[in-house]
Amino acid sequence: MRNQITSACLAAALLAVGGLAGCSPSGDPVPSNSATPPPAVDTTLPTEPVQLVIAYCDAHPVEDLIDGFTALHPNITFDKQYEDCGNFATDVVNRLTSDSAPDLVQYVDSAIQTVAPAGHVLDLAPYLEAYDWESKFPASELAQLRLSPDGRTHGVGAQYGIPGGASYTGVFYNKSLLNQAGVEAPPGTLQEFQIALKAVKNAGLTPIALGSLDDGGIHLWGGLLTSLFGVAAAQDWVNGQPGATIDRAAAVEATTELADWARQGYFPASANGTKEDDARAQFAQGQAVFTVDGSWAVGTVQEGLGEEVGFFSFPGRTLQEPVTGQGFTAGFAISARSAKATVAAAFLDYLASAQAARISVGLGMLPVNVESAPEPAPGVASDLRQAYAQAVRDSGIVTFYDHATPTMHTTLTQGLQAVIAGQLTPADFIASVQADWQESKG
């Protein structure tokens, strides 16, 4: 008995040691070079061999862009460190805070928000000037990679990343099925969209392929929200502008519309148990007339439907409103510890080149610099490009809503599932979304 007490005491003592050791958890000290003003930058490249370490999760286009750059500068090689996208955000936090940080990392919003305030990410301001990036990249894309000193507000503050490829969401539609339902042209306004959905349903077809188990719900809801809420207000909210709120009638109205579509049976009954990938496959097999998805879906739907598939931006209330969609640029950031930052910056500059744009287009992706990229052949890729270019001109691109806070992806996915299942009112959903925002932005 006494032995038990002794060992229990020992265990408790050790527990207490653990509990008290390092009473306040805190990170590594801030690297010194973030405090001192950066030296004037040099844009000439070294001639001796240099190797850059790069960590990324999107094998395409990253590896293609790397190969393109190395072809131009054979003395600059890359140690390519690929990671699965599922864990990449955590990986970026760990690696950028370690002493052996990679020179370049693919930009992950949530991770950069965490590590940038502690000075682990290089502020690209001097390079922005030296390379004149502001005239080479679209302003809206540069803004997505800008972050306030506390990491809580996007679009202002230091330039932590440079765009490497764009994404854009909207509506894919099946031309022959739409005609079969008696609808002549793709809808131009939200009201026309509602009429088309009803006609399709009445014709006995599935109106929208939806995979709300993961991202599908966010993309569909995001389309409705941007249309009804307005681009500027929506972007302020995602950016984390102090005082912004989504808890307004227009957001409730957008969610009510979604709930209504679910009630009307515009989605398959299995939507909540279907992944977006699987919904895309259903659409590509001709099992639904519409699907709301992103530029990354072009390959799959084109392979399945060929010339039968088209794309339009999510319609607004009227034809006069700006063309809108959600998107985020897949960018790159440089570690504050990198000793080869000037070489890494040269790679970032390459991303704005016409050659890099050709590589992106060749992969069926949206190029960073729409103007300098070759026009794709007519078809869904061309539809998408035109829609995207118009949205860039209209300043209609809003960052994906789940970027608003680190927990927003879960809050939106799970909440929208409950809305689609008819178990959560639109007003309560919007309130929970704002509560998440408030918790994070304080």
Binding site: S24, T114, G273, T410, A421
Partner: protein, 310 residues
């Protein structure tokens, strides 16, 4: 006889220990040297990290920047936030499926086994134990397919005209039950194996005696098989209750908490909060979960020993 005999030996040992004087009150601290290596390992690898987790649970910290003191607030959130609290309730529901159902099925199987010699036991053993040796991630992937709109479950239901193309794991009312049934499938084999082995140890004479006394199958099960399997039941309950409360793999692979937080379990939320840079809540929930597992495991063990000590 063996039980009572053991008790007698134990009490004798206890008497001996107290009877032997502790050398004038001096304790043999030199003994500590012998346990030191184990103690260091256990302390360094288990207790110290556990203590750090407890410490972390009192802060708001993203893992990189300055932490702010939260005190008990994270624990208050765990007990009041509907999502965090809901996950604990869901774990309770899973105990029914992961633990009570398999133990029940295992006992039925044991009861049948004691009534009749069954040929080809080795084959049964293999079939029952198969789910146990599969990685839970693989189990999850297979069942996700089986429960999908075009999956096996709907095909079978279709034979009876019941296929409505439901995605069972996306259904508001059925998703958690579906996960529970996957768990029951996994754990039943373990319970049956344990009880099969246990039945082999029960003295056949006891059954003969019971039958001579006119006991039916139910009486026989209740009076001979069940007491004979007590330690196996305790082990099965302990293992399965822990697996239910600490479940993560199957849920992560099949639903990831969907739909609308209906299948959130504590293990999943600890992971999600960790990934979202909310270490304080993750640690607080982990501490609460560990406490629950500890209490449940002790209770299950006590339940099994129960009458033996009396």
């Amino acid at each position: 006889m063996s039980v009572r005999g053991a008790a007698r030996v134990r009490s004798a040992a206890r008497a001996g220990r107290t009877a032997r004087p502790v050398a004038g009150g001096r304790r043999q601290w030199s003994g500590l040297w012998f346990v030191a290596p184990a103690l260091l390992l256990y302390g360094g690898l288990i207790l110290y990290p556990a203590g750090r987790t407890v410490n972390l649970s009192l802060w708001r910290w993203d893992g990189v920047n300055q932490a702010t003191w939260r005190g008990w607030a994270n624990y208050v959130d765990v007990l009041t936030d509907p999502i965090l609290r809901g996950s604990i309730l869901h774990a309770g529901v899973l105990v029914i499926f992961f633990s009570l159902v398999p133990v029940g099925l295992g006992l039925v199987w044991a009861a049948l086994l004691t009534r009749r010699r069954i040929k080809g036991l080795a084959v049964f053993r293999l079939v029952f134990f198969l789910p146990q040796i599969l990685p839970l991630v693989a189990v999850g992937v297979v069942w996700r397919w089986a429960l999908s709109p075009q999956g096996l479950v709907n095909q079978v239901l279709g034979w009876f005209g019941l296929d409505q193309g439901r995605a069972w794991l996306g259904e508001w009312d059925y998703a958690l039950i579906a996960i529970g049934l996957i768990g029951a499938w996994v754990q039943s084999g373990l319970c049956m194996m344990l009880f099969m082995a246990g039945c082999g140890r029960i003295d056949r004479d006891l059954y003969e005696a019971a039958r001579l006394d006119g006991a039916g199958p139910v009486r026989e099960f209740w009076s001979v098989t069940r007491p004979g399997l007590r330690s196996e039941i305790g082990l099965a309950l302990t293992v399965t209750v822990i697996s239910a409360l600490a479940s993560f793999d199957i849920v992560f692979v099949t639903t990831n908490g969907s739909p609308g937080h209906r299948t959130d379990v504590p293990g999943l939320l600890v992971y999600q909060r960790l990934m979202a840079g909310d270490l304080g809540h993750a640690a607080a929930l982990a501490v609460v979960l560990s406490g629950l597992v500890l209490v449940a495991a002790l209770a299950a063990g006590r339940l099994a020993q129960g009458r033996e000590d009396r």
